[in-house]
Structure formats: structure tokens, C-alpha cells
């Protein structure tokens, strides 16, 4: 694939590093400012600005498949994406750094304003980070969580531990709630599609798919015994801190947020409905003890300073907190953080990169998500118009695959053996990447 990247920034470097071996990458930026590390990569350079139509033409934008704008200036990124759209209708991915611009371009509540030059994907790393942290908090033991159909359908991946109710049981023997399916199991690093007689073993990673609320109740009964989160503490009230508390509030979790800047505190108290905003320093032991931060079920350190995050995390660990999630800006620090005993280390760049790679790899539109490092795929298939009504159990799969969800207009159906598939349905099929091609041809005769 031909990929055009605008912006020789840190994130630009990370993207390039991950993609340059498989794709042809052209980087546009001011070459005089080009960091040295780019020179060791096998890519081509083009001097100029992303907003300059001439430069884009020279970089052969019309032949590119994807355009990624990740320069230091949000507005420049947006203009670059628009400019590219003038040349050719290729997929654009734009990085932004502020909530206002993200909302303007990507939020679902504002998408009634459509313009000719819409950007296909807008990535705001901090928002993705917030999402990641929220997933980790709301489904504490899950290894992976994916959302489909606007959040109405979810995918959870769980590791089976020694005390699990599912251990050594056949799938068909355990009374799973309706609307939940086990679509895959990873055993010793290989993914396979189970059937009713598969026995679940210790250390299996089981992938569930189903309706959101059904999965939530499953998670609550099987995986989260006495482990529900009721109180959370957030240190650092930047955009991640405030977005996260907003989400947690909606989930009914009580939030205490510590922020050192008085004006920011006032702003947060103004915008958040229920969270308790505390003005003070996250490293102030007296404050942490006085507000009994150590009793929170989860503590999230998301200041913009790595050293401070580390110090806060260690302090609250001293106070007896069980779960600590810490943000790290510099990826080289991440390993160190984990080594000194911080449970979960997250980084906005990682979150952004994950999303971006997902985008690039699933560009063949039919792949909704990749799981287990690409071993499993969720495919989206539309049932052709001339397809006769067929029961799921009568479908002749040559490959191993499970239909996870059927979307019929606005309805979401979690199929069972006797569910009928009709023409025009949208199927979400879980399969291994090896069999993906076979499955795709299944319905197309």
C-alpha cells in the first residue's frame, strides 16, 4: 500500500517505524528539521507542507491509499487532509490535540453537519487513552474489549484462572446467558474456534461476543466476584482526567479528582456533575490520606508529567491501593514503571498507534477488528439480495467460523442454531485469519 505521512513528529516516527517494512511510505515535512532517526528508515521524503497542493502532487498523493496527517499543528493537519481530498478521494487520517477540534470533526453528536471534505478518521490520542483506561476500569479482568454497532455489541477476552467457574467444563454444559457466544479460545498462543464439546482449560483466553448488557452481567457473575468498582480517584485534571471522570460518572462510579491548578479546578467543577474536585498536589501525602484516596477501588494517575505520575503511583501504593493505572508519556519509561510495581501503564501514543494500525490493517473495510495480535478477525459480510432464507445450523461452512451478530436494519440479533439468516442482513463473523478468505466467499456463490 502507498501511504503518505505528513509530519516528522514523534508519532509520525512511530507510525513509520511500524509500517515501513510492509508499505511504501512517503513522508512530507520540512526536510531541514527532519530528525536523524528518520534517515535510518527505508522511506522516501518530500520537502514541503501538507497544506501545499503542489507538494502533495509531487508526493504523488493521487496514487496513495492512505494519507496520515500528524504534524505538530492541529489546524495544519486538518487543512492538509482537506487539501488531499481535493486531489483524490483517498482515506485521510488526521491527528488533533484538542477536544474542540475533535468534537468538531468526529463526534457522533455533531455529524449532522456534513461537508464535502470530511476527514475519514480523526485521532485524538488523549481521547483514545481515556477510552482505554475506561475499558480497563469498567471490565477489570478483561484482556481485550472491542465495541461494535455503536456499543450495542461487545467483545471481551478473558483469561481463565484457577478458581474460575468455567474451568474444566464443556461449553455446552455451562448455562450461558442468552445473547452471549464464545467465539474463540486461545490456547498456548494459538487461536481456534471452539464448539459445544470443547473443554475450557486453565490459562485459556476465552473470547466472548454478544449484547453489551448480557456480557456485562456475564462478566459480573463469572469474572468479577466482589470486584466491582465503586470509587475511583484520578490524579491530574487534564483532558484525560476530565473526560475519564465524565465517563466514570455516567457509569455510576464516584470520582475524586485531584488537580493542582486552581483555575482548572474551577473549570472542572463547573463541567463535571458529580465528581468531587480537590485542589491540591497529587504528591501531597496529607491530602491523599485526609481524603482517604488509598481506599479507592482504582487510582488513575494522568498528569502530564511522567516523574510525577510515578511518584503519585508509588505513594498511593503505599497507602494500600490495589489497582493503579498510570499514564506514561515517554515510552522508554514504560518498562521502568512496570518494573517498580505499577499494575497498568498506559500511554496516549500507544493508544493512538493501536487505533491507527487497526485502521490501516483493516482497510479492506470488511475487517472490523483484529484480536489476539491478528490471529482472529471479525469480518463484516452483507448477505446478498438473492440469498434464500437459511437457518444458521444449515449453513455449510467449509471453514471454522462463528456468526457473532446479525444486524437486521436496526435490530441486533445474537444468533442460535435455529436463527434464520435473510437476504440483506449484515453479519459479523468471527474467524481465524487463516480462514478469512474462505469465509468471505461463503455467501457469494
Amino acid at each position: 500500500m502507498d501511504i503518505l505521512i505528513y509530519g516528522a513528529t514523534e508519532i509520525g516516527y512511530m507510525v513509520t517505524l511500524r509500517l515501513y517494512q510492509e508499505h511504501n511510505i512517503t513522508l512530507i515535512d520540512d526536510l531541514e528539521r527532519l530528525p536523524d532517526k528518520f534517515n535510518s528508515l527505508d522511506i522516501s521524503f518530500m520537502s514541503g507542507s501538507g497544506g501545499d497542493i503542489d507538494a502533495l502532487e509531487k508526493a504523488n498523493a493521487s496514487q496513495a491509499d492512505i494519507f496520515i496527517a500528524c504534524s505538530v499543528l492541529d489546524e495544519a493537519n486538518i487543512v492538509a487532509c482537506w487539501t488531499v481530498k481535493k486531489i483524490a478521494d483517498i482515506e485521510t487520517i488526521c491527528f488533533v490535540r484538542t477536544m474542540e477540534l475533535y468534537r468538531n470533526l468526529a463526534s457522533p453528536t455533531w455529524n449532522r453537519y456534513e461537508t464535502k471534505y470530511d476527514i475519514d478518521t480523526v485521532i485524538w490520542p488523549e481521547q483514545l487513552l481515556t477510552q482505554d483506561i475506561f475499558r480497563i476500569i469498567s471490565v477489570p479482568d478483561a484482556i481485550d474489549v472491542e465495541y461494535f454497532a455503536g456499543g450495542r455489541v461487545k467483545l471481551f477476552e478473558y483469561r481463565i484462572k484457577e478458581n474460575s467457574l468455567l474451568l474444566d467444563k464443556k461449553i455446552m454444559d455451562y448455562g450461558f446467558p442468552q445473547d452471549v457466544l464464545i467465539v474463540g479460545i486461545t490456547r498456548e498462543n494459538t487461536l481456534f474456534i471452539p464448539d459445544g464439546s470443547t473443554v475450557i482449560e486453565l490459562d485459556d483466553k476465552v473470547i466472548f461476543m454478544g449484547r453489551s448488557h448480557a456480557l456485562d452481567s456475564l462478566a459480573a457473575t463469572i469474572f468479577q466476584k466482589g470486584n466491582t468498582i465503586k470509587k475511583a480517584a484520578i490524579i491530574g485534571g487534564g483532558s484525560v482526567g476530565s473526560l475519564l471522570s465524565e465517563n466514570l460518572e455516567k457509569a455510576g462510579i464516584r470520582v475524586k479528582l485531584i488537580e493542582h491548578d486552581k483555575n482548572r479546578c474551577v473549570f472542572l467543577a463547573d463541567h463535571l456533575k458529580k465528581s468531587l474536585i480537590l485542589h491540591g498536589d497529587g504528591t501531597d501525602l496529607e491530602l491523599l490520606e485526609g481524603e482517604s484516596i488509598g481506599d479507592s477501588d482504582v487510582i488513575v494517575c494522568v498528569t502530564d508529567n511522567d516523574e510525577k505520575n510515578l511518584l503519585c503511583s508509588l505513594l498511593v501504593k503505599q497507602l494500600g491501593s490495589e489497582r493503579i493505572i498510570t499514564r506514561v508519556g515517554n515510552d522508554r519509561n514504560a518498562e521502568l514503571f512496570e518494573r517498580v510495581g505499577i499494575d497498568v501503564v498506559v500511554s496516549p501514543r500507544d493508544s493512538a498507534l493501536k487505533e491507527l494500525l487497526n485502521r490501516v490493517q483493516t482497510r479492506e473495510v470488511d475487517i472490523l477488528a483484529l484480536v489476539e495480535g491478528g490471529q482472529g478477525e471479525i469480518l463484516r459480510l452483507k448477505v446478498p439480495e438473492d440469498f434464500p432464507d437459511t437457518r444458521v445450523m444449515d449453513l455449510k461452512f467449509q471453514a471454522k467460523a462463528i456468526i457473532g451478530v446479525i444486524k437486521r436494519r436496526r435490530r441486533i440479533i445474537i444468533p442460535r442454531g435455529d436463527t434464520i439468516i435473510r437476504a440483506g442482513d449484515m453479519l459479523k463473523i468471527f474467524t481465524t485469519s487463516v480462514d478469512a478468505e474462505l469465509v468471505k466467499n461463503l455467501l457469494v456463490k
Binding site: C265, L268, A269, D270, L278, G290
Partner: protein, 485 residues
């Protein structure tokens, strides 16, 4: 402060008011009460000539665009005092002494509804029509009226508009103040007309329907019937009046959004309105229980009367569907409690205003949380928006001043009258623009028997209460009176 500005503005207002005061003549002609024409013509002539005199001294300038804050306050305060005086002139012709006439007029225009009349049969229909009309004019605010109708106040209007109704938040429904004033009056007129029609259909004579509707929408409380709404012995009328009083006590700007702009959730979304409805419903329930069990009044009657009375008192209308002066002390205490609350900001009602009470409660709650979390940042929010610090201070100051004023007036009246109930309840009823109190000054009683100093204190209470203290308080500062050229 520029004397010329004030004289000019007052002159304009007086001339316009002189024209308005001719309206009762129409009633006089319809009802063939030709003797009633003279009082209103006299008042009009007096008003217009005084207006011209003021303008002459002011140099006939039409330019108020650089009106200062204190000038705005003074114009507003003086307008109320002077128009009340003009409005008192017709009463003089019916045998009232000047102080009583002024009391009645102030009580009318400030929508208080406290009366000094004892025998209603002595006066013609025109007399009662003017009482109700004066309430209706004062209900939306004299200044709002003139900002709406006089183009000269297009720019200066803003200053005067908010000086007259210094609610906690400046609320404009349209970008231009004259349009806002017109919009408010539009809602007001529509609701009044609607109520007249409903009352007429419910069987009230047209004349009574008009008078009662005018006083209801103004949250005034003057009724041409000596026994107020109770006198009509018609429970449908009671329900209609209850509903319209309830509307009169809620924010007209929001009702404009609802009625004219079609935003269906405008009222329900307002935290103040929800709290207002909550107080009305909960207080009525308690009161009807007290009446039902304590006073042995029938179930339906007790519900109807308690709802009517709570709405009437909280919106500061002061109508009565039953003689609540005869109710038990428990019932009267509930009424006294809601007396202190008053209507919503931007309504025709007076009193402390629901929004300030709501703020007070939230503020106390905040202070309690702050004790437990000393470092927490806890803003006081109304409608999900943080109340700015200076507004907080202003509201708290208002509450404090209100209490101080009430205490001062209550103590003085108690000493003069030798009656604590008249002192406290009378003060609450006049400063909150409610009208009747309990006992001697109850709904079937009259303020006429009070001594001259008491009446004067109550007159001040009514005007200060109607202007929500702030213009009055500003006048107490010496710098207010600094005169510029």
C-alpha cells in the same frame, strides 16, 4: 448623576402614564358611571402637565444613551413613587384621605393587594377596575412597560430594565432590550386575555372576569368582590385562578420560550421552576392534610383550598378562596413559610424569589461539604451552571438585607401597633408584595385600621420589596447622590 436626565425620563413616563390612566373611562362609559370620568381626567391632566414641567426643566432632551447605573436606579425608584402618586388621585374623589389613597395606590401598583377598604359597597365599578388595572400595569413592571412602548428608552432601557428587576441573572430573550420588553408583555397580555375568556366561560360576569384576570396575572390580589375569590362560590373559578396564579409566579421569559418559540421543555428544564413546583405541591399536600385532619374540612375542599392558598401566597397574589385567618396555627405557619419564598425570578410575583431560596439551600449544603473536604472545589450550581462569585455574594447580601429589613420593620410595627402578629406577618406580607396577613389584617380584614406610621412603613416596605431592595440599598450610599453636569 445628571438631574436633567432624570427629569426628562420621569417626564416621559408621566406623560405616557397620563394617557394610560384614561382607560378606566371606557369602563365608566360602558357601565354608565359618568361621575367616574372626572377623577381619571383630573389624574391624567395632572400627570401630563407634571410630565411637561419635568421635561421643561430637563430641556426636552431625548438622549438617554449615556445613562449611569445610579441614574437608572433613581429613575426606576422615582417612577414607582410618582406613578403611584398619580394613581392615587382618582381615589381621592371617592372619599379616601391622602395617605389611605396613596397606600391603596402603592399596594395596587406594587401588586401587593393589601387594602385599606372596609366596605366595598360604597364604591363604583370603575374604582375597582382601576385598582385591578394598576396591579396589572405594575405586575410586569412599570419600567418594562415603558421600555416596551417608548422608543426613547431603546438604549437606556437596558440599564433601567435590570434596575427594576435585579434578579440574580440578567436574562434577555432577544438581543435587543425593547424586543425583550415587548415579548414579555406579549406573553402577559396573551395569558391575561386567555384567563378572561376562561373565567367568563366558567360563569363569572364579564366585568368581574376582567378585573380578576388583571389582578391574577399581576399576582396582585385585588378583587372587586369583598370576599375575594371565595365570594364567587364557584370551584371551577377557583381552579382557573389557581392555574393562572401559578403561571404568574413563574418566569415569563421561559413562558415566552414555551409559548411563542415553541421550546416545549423550557419550563421543565429550569431548576428554579422545578423547585417552585416542588414547594407548591409539597406545601399544599401538608396543608391539605392539616386542614383535613385538624380543621375537619372535607377532602376535596381541603385540597382545593390548600392548593389555591399556597399558590396565592407563594406567587404573592394574596387572593383568598377561604378565610385563612380562621385556620389553625399550624396551617397559618405553613402559609407564613411560603410567604417568605415568593415567585420565580422574572415573574410577576414578589418576595425573596424561589431562585434565591434555592441558592441559599445549595450554599448551605456546599458549606457542610466543605467542612468535610476542606480542599475540595465546590461551586454552587444552578441549572448545571456555576454561579459566579460576585453573583453569590450579591444573593447572600440580598438575603441578609432582606432579613435585616424585615426585622427592623417588624420590630417597629410591633412597637407601634402593640401586636406582634401584625408586626411580623404584616411586614412579611407587604415587603413580599403578598397582601393580606393574618388576624386583623387577614383576607377578610383591612389595613385601614392601622395607625399612620404603620401605614407609612408598609408603603416603604411595598416599594422597596417590589424593587427587590437593590435600588433602595444603593441610595443609602453617599456616592449615589454625587451630581454630574
Amino acid at each position: 448623576m445628571k438631574i436633567a436626565h432624570i427629569l426628562n425620563a420621569l417626564g416621559l413616563i408621566l406623560i405616557a402614564f397620563g394617557a394610560i390612566i384614561l382607560t378606566p373611562i371606557a369602563v365608566a362609559l360602558i357601565e354608565h358611571e359618568y361621575s367616574s370620568i372626572l377623577p381619571f381626567v383630573t389624574a391624567s391632566v395632572f400627570s401630563v402637565s407634571l410630565g411637561f414641567l419635568f421635561q421643561k426643566y430637563g430641556g426636552f432632551s431625548r438622549n438617554f444613551d449615556d445613562l449611569k447605573r445610579n441614574e437608572g436606579f433613581l429613575i426606576v425608584s422615582l417612577s414607582w413613587i410618582v406613578t403611584a402618586a398619580v394613581g392615587a388621585i382618582p381615589y381621592l374623589f371617592y372619599g379616601l384621605n391622602p395617605l389611605d389613597a396613596y397606600f391603596e395606590s402603592v399596594s395596587g401598583i406594587t401588586t401587593t393587594g393589601a387594602t385599606i377598604l372596609t366596605d366595598f359597597s360604597l364604591y363604583p365599578k370603575d374604582f375597582f377596575f382601576w385598582r385591578s388595572l394598576s396591579q396589572w400595569l405594575g405586575g410586569m413592571g412599570i419600567i418594562v412597560l415603558f421600555v416596551a412602548i417608548l422608543p426613547q428608552f431603546a438604549v437606556a432601557g437596558r440599564q433601567m430594565f435590570f434596575a427594576e428587576a435585579p434578579g440574580p441573572v440578567e436574562e434577555k430573550i432577544t438581543p435587543r432590550i425593547t424586543h425583550t420588553a415587548k415579548a414579555l408583555w406579549l406573553v402577559y397580555v396573551i395569558l391575561t386575555a386567555f384567563e378572561i375568556v376562561l373565567l367568563f366561560i366558567a360563569g363569572m360576569p364579564l366585568y368581574d372576569a376582567v378585573c380578576n384576570a388583571l389582578s391574577t396575572m399581576a399576582a396582585g390580589g385585588f378583587s372587586p368582590h369583598p370576599q375575594s375569590i371565595m365570594g364567587y362560590h364557584n370551584s371551577i373559578v377557583t381552579w382557573i385562578v389557581t392555574c393562572f396564579m401559578f403561571l404568574a409566579g413563574s418566569n415569563f421569559a421561559l413562558q415566552y420560550r414555551l409559548l411563542i418559540q415553541g421550546k416545549s421543555d423550557a419550563l421543565v428544564k429550569s431548576e428554579e421552576f422545578r423547585f417552585y413546583a416542588f414547594i407548591v405541591i409539597s406545601a399544599s399536600l401538608v396543608l391539605s392534610a392539616v386542614l383535613f385532619f385538624g380543621n375537619r374540612i372535607g377532602m376535596l375542599d381541603s385540597i382545593r383550598d390548600s392548593l389555591f392558598q399556597i399558590v396565592s401566597i407563594i406567587t404573592t397574589a394574596g387572593f383568598s378562596s377561604a378565610d385563612f385567618a380562621l385556620w389553625s396555627v399550624a396551617a397559618q405557619t405553613i402559609l407564613f413559610t411560603v410567604m417568605l419564598v415568593g415567585g420565580c425570578a422574572g415573574s410577576a410575583g414578589g418576595g425573596i424569589k424561589v431562585v434565591r431560596v434555592l441558592f441559599g439551600i445549595k450554599y448551605l449544603k456546599r458549606e457542610v461539604s466543605q467542612i468535610i473536604h476542606p480542599q475540595a472545589v465546590l461551586p454552587v450550581k444552578l441549572d448545571h451552571k456555576t454561579v459566579p462569585d460576585d453573583t453569590c455574594r450579591q444573593i447572600l447580601g440580598f438575603l441578609l438585607f432582606y432579613i435585616v429589613m424585615m426585622m427592623g420593620s417588624a420590630l417597629a410595627v410591633t412597637v407601634i401597633e402593640g401586636d406582634g402578629a401584625v408586626g411580623l406577618v404584616g411586614t412579611a406580607a407587604t415587603i413580599g408584595n403578598i397582601g393580606p396577613g393574618f388576624g386583623e389584617i387577614g383576607p377578610m380584614g383591612s389595613f385601614g385600621g392601622l395607625s399612620i406610621p404603620t401605614k407609612m412603613i408598609f408603603i416603604v416596605n411595598m416599594i422597596v420589596g417590589r424593587l427587590e431592595l437593590i435600588p433602595f440599598l444603593a441610595m443609602l450610599h453617599p456616592d449615589f447622590w454625587s451630581i454630574r453636569k
